[in-house]
């Protein structure tokens, strides 16, 4: 670094701040500004402060359905993912031959977009899709079942759950595998010396030590599950509306950024509330924040 540039940047004590500056500016312009702008759009109309946009949102015929399905999806999908991912992580951790190979296979869906996952499972659940074909070949049905229709809203719901469960379990798995690797071998050896084996070891030693990772996984997955959008649109269209989807429609189809922002703000508030609940009731704050 030449002398003049050095003078300009100051000494090494200032250097880290210069390095952070681009990121800080970016966060200011692309996170903080939209945050305030969204609140502004949601609460301020031409004549100043108003709750009209929230009233419009709540009085929309699909609003309560969207709220209901958003929560139903989250509380169905997240536990399923945690249980599946935990099984994957514990199996991989048992150290059988080829576990590394299977780790990569299990992680594959990490790269798959929510929209693509929706389309993949559409090929399975659509009226002439693979599921109906297989059931027919096995002689279980003789006419195709319409899984994705208003008549079978429960099937439609389960189809979305299946697709999201499949797509986003990998993230949880990677977090849990990383958590398992951090557990000190000493604890595990001590547990075995003291007679804890198999299920006992998992339940009384591994799971408690894995709690910070479980918390992080829960928080991240819950927040993203609340934003489920493209999977729902690809599979269910508007049969099972969700909050993020409504924000999309109000912005994209009805060209109303005020109501769309109201939905966005509502999503943010729910996300913060859920995070607070997890932090409050699952403890060990710092570790969760770390993740």
């Amino acid at each position: 670094m030449n002398e003049r540039l050095r003078k300009l940047l100051g000494t090494d004590t200032l250097l880290p701040y210069w390095l952070l500056l681009p990121t800080l500016i970016f966060i200011g312009v692309f996170f903080l500004m939209p945050l305030f702008k969204a609140v502004g759009l949601a609460f301020y109309g031409k004549d100043g402060f108003t709750l009209a946009y929230f009233e419009k949102m709540i009085s929309d015929v699909r609003f309560f359905d969207a709220l209901k399905f958003t929560f139903l999806f989250a509380i169905t999908i997240v536990p399923l993912q945690v249980v599946t991912a935990l099984a994957m992580a514990l199996l991989l951790n048992s150290g059988f031959r080829g576990s590394r190979f299977f780790l990569y296979i299990f992680a594959l869906p990490l790269g798959i977009a929510d929209l693509a996952a929706g389309l993949i499972w559409l090929s399975i659940f659509t009226h002439r899709g693979f599921l109906n074909s297989i059931l027919y070949a096995l002689g279980i049905i003789d006419r195709p079942i319409h899984y994705l229709s208003y008549q079978n809203i429960n099937y439609t719901f389960l189809s979305v759950v299946a697709a999201e469960h499949w797509r986003a379990t990998a993230i949880v798995m990677v977090i849990l595998v990383a958590g398992l690797q951090m557990i000190s071998k000493d604890y595990l050896e001590a547990a075995e010396v003291l007679g804890a084996r198999g299920w006992k070891k998992i339940w009384y030693v591994i799971l408690p030590l894995l709690k910070p990772s479980l918390q992080s996984a829960l928080i991240i997955r819950t927040i993203f599950a609340l934003q489920t959008f493209a999977v729902v649109l690809a599979l269910a269209g508007q049969i099972t509306p969700v909050l993020a989807g409504e924000a999309y429609f109000w912005q994209f189809l009805y060209r109303n950024p005020h109501v769309a922002s109201a939905y966005a703000v509502l999503l943010m508030v729910i996300s913060i509330a859920m995070t607070w609940v997890y932090l409050r009731y699952l403890r060990s704050r710092t570790e969760v924040i770390r993740e």
Binding site: P16, K37, L91, F96, L110, L115, I120, L233, S271
Partner: protein
């Protein structure tokens, strides 16, 4: 090798294989769908393996109005995104990895909090702002919001990568006459390069896969996912299957190439310290 041990191993392999099939079979099925002759997709009863494989569906998809253009847009946006993201995020990652400074922990916490922002909260107000800035319906505009979404990951990943490059090497270079920047460029950067390449690919995948913001911020300059989702109600099944297959192709390739770095991205933050 006791009987119990064998039983245990058999059970573990059976469980692992089941889970692997659960992951792999849907990917295989979309592949089959994308190469099934179009009319066979609509037959009942449909056989699971088509009578023959054909490029017809893929050709129809690529020939459909707007697809090739959106495909190119997607690539351009993703390349812009990874350039912006690394240019902005990597210096921050380096700073966090190398220096102890006031506000370091606050910065890391802030970065993690930005990961929790709903996409809608960024995209909806930015659509309004971008109209005023002349960025609405431009590829740069989409790339900027994708950069915002990828930035938290980039900072976390590059922090992990630079922590993996020993500080001693840079200090040695400086005592041998390199400047601060020279030591970084000649010693730390080459060592960090594979990791940075992995971070770049990961950023590419984030952008390539993103649909909500891309759909809201564009009208004519759509990316591939934005094109698919905005035409989804009107497009035939074969178009959707081919689209889904096309979307996962580069993503799977990149995820395979960077598989060793996965833990930097998701597990890294915990594993680091």
């Amino acid at each position: 090798m006791s009987y119990r041990y064998l039983l245990r191993q058999t059970l573990i392999y059976m469980a692992v294989l089941t889970l692997a099939l659960w992951v792999l079979i849907p990917i295989l099925l979309i592949g089959i769908s994308a190469f099934t002759p179009r009319q066979e997709l609509y037959l009942w009863p449909k056989s699971i393996i088509p009578s023959h494989f054909s490029l017809e569906t893929m050709r129809f998809f690529l020939g459909a109005h707007g697809v090739v253009r959106s495909l190119l847009n997607s690539v351009k946006v993703a390349v812009l995104t990874l350039t912006f993201t690394l240019a902005v995020g990597a210096p921050a990652g380096y700073a966090v990895a190398r220096f102890f400074f006031r506000g370091r922990e606050a910065f890391r916490l802030g970065i993690l909090i930005t990961r929790m922002f709903p996409t809608a909260l960024l995209a909806v107000p930015l659509a309004v702002t971008f109209i005023r800035w002349g960025l609405y319906d431009t590829l740069v505009g989409v790339a900027l919001i994708h950069t915002a979404m990828a930035l938290p990951f980039a900072v976390i990943i590059t922090t992990g990568i630079f922590m993996g490059v020993p500080k001693d090497l840079e200090e040695a270079a400086m005592t041998l006459g390199c400047s601060r920047f020279g030591a970084f460029a000649r010693v730390a950067l080459p060592l960090a390069l594979p990791g940075l390449a992995a971070a770049a690919m990961f950023t590419f995948v984030i952008s390539w896969n993103e649909v909500f913001a891309a759909a809201i911020l564009t009208v004519r300059n759509r990316t591939l996912p934005a094109h698919i989702i905005t035409t989804i109600q009107a497009s035939p099944l074969d178009f959707r299957f081919a689209g889904g297959f096309f979307m996962i192709l580069p993503a799977l390739l990149f995820m395979f190439l960077i598989r060793r770095y996965l833990f930097h991205m998701w597990g890294g933050a915990t594993a680091e310290r």
